[in-house]
Amino acid sequence: MILVKGMLACVLILLGTEVQAELQIEINQGVENPTPVAIVPFSWQGVGSAPDDVAQIIDSDLARSGQFAPVSRRDMLSFPNRESEMYFRDWRAISAEYVLIGRVSVGSQARIDFQLFDTNRQVAVDQGTITGPEGELRMLAHRVSDAVYETLTGISGAFATRILYVSVTRNPSGKDFYRLTLADSDGRRPIVLLESRDPILSPAWSPDGQEVAYVSFETSRPAIYRQNLRTGQREQLTNFQGLNNSPAWSPDGNSMALVLSKDGNPDIYLLNLKSRALTRLTRHFAIDTEPTWMPDGKSLLFTSDRGGRPQIYRYDLRTQKIKRVTFEGLFNARARVAQDGRNVALVHQREGRYHIAVFDLVTDRLTVLTETSLDESPSIAPNGSIVLYATKRGEDSILGAVAVDGGVRFSLPSREGSVQEPAWSPYVTP
């Protein structure tokens, strides 16, 4: 309980403080002709100066998507905050196809009013008001980014989401130092959920985004834990002999798929989170691991080397039948399914190199997305557009991101040490 209270206090302190990001963002590749868009500085009405530059947050979000080329503020000829202040010629002159303007005010709640204009058609194509707690102003700005992104691309944005990752500080003369961290999708506002001298891995989200599960070796043996992000309440779920890993929450939130080797070798089990009943799903002398749910909750994908080499298999919960899914190459592992139930991100080995690939469950087509050679732990954004993963740069692990269509890439190296095991949150109802 002391630990739990300590963590809660830590979370509360950090929530109220602007913390420098641990992760940096490097955009490596965007689309060929990104759309020029101007994000005009928003006006501020509140006590003191604005705690965050809302327009800058939106600007960075759109730039990171690789699909937009935000116009520099130095090139702007005017700084409108209202429609009446908009002169389209100022924007056509600098070739901005779209202009976003807005106002931020803080009273009992923070409020952002925004309007998005098409400079060619000279009309507003989107407008809205977003409100929320003042301490969450950055998240409100990301919600404006989501709205703008959806209007301009037709795809839901995933900026107002969060990520989990594990950072590791190397210690050549002793035990490495592990931290499980929660941050906004842009890497900002990191909050440490757990620190340990022993490994932490496999962070996973509950479908409502309120809880996380992970594996920690803190007892000198692996065990699966769940932790509530609001209350800090933490619970050890498994403590079996052998492996306890790969927790995967079912889409309805009622059960968790996991891997145990207590019966001799690694198999997939289902833990009912209410009754605590444990059901064994696979029964094979080979390695069965890395379970992940199809979005409809009716079947699971998992990795198995029952065919001699690791490949992806599908377990149907109703028929209890197992069917092999991937056949291309000698190594396909650790699948994660997009919300459309069609695209599967996985680790694919080609010529001894491990890449992130996308496998299409409808066409059975496998497309390699990355060129680096030690890629692992893919996690798909809730809008299905970007895969976040871990790769190696020198002796350190860094996070990488690549669009599912391969067009956009960016990296999120840590300012210090390694970052690995990213897990992108589901959409959370604000």
């Binding site: 070796f217 052998g242 492996l243 080797s261 592992a333 491990y354 692992e376």
Partner: protein
Amino acid sequence: MNKLTFYAKLSSLVFAAALLAACSGNDTKEQEAAAEAAAVEQEAAQQAAAAAASEKQARVEAQQVLETAASDMGTVFYFDFDSSSLTDEARAQVDAHIAALMGNNASVRLEGHTDERGTREYNLALGERRANAVRDYMVANGVPGYRIESISYGEENPVAYGSGESNWQQNRRVELK
């Protein structure tokens, strides 16, 4: 009293005295014999104890030799890529540890590790395969299974942080603790 009666009484007294004397003479000899026997016994016991002690000492020394030999063989056993089979070298190392474990009651922990290639959770399973390969070999050679705990760290806690075979081969290992 008549003379006969007197002599009779006297003779019986003498007899009794003689008898007494004879009896008391026998008793002393027996005591001496017993004491002698006890001394012999004690000496034998002392010799036996000394022999046992020296035998025990020899056993302790022999066990120490085995344990030193085992520790000289190292407590880290390396594996080939994608393999959980003991190499000849690893087998020789583990043999030395088995010899030491047969003579003591120590419990051991076998920690399986992999290199960084592949996925973390699959590597946990591969690391467990390696630890279990060492455990199974020990059990097959007489070490009771309850004295062995095997655990896998997969690619966590590498010895060498870099990439490339020279680093990877140092990380594909089972550590005996």
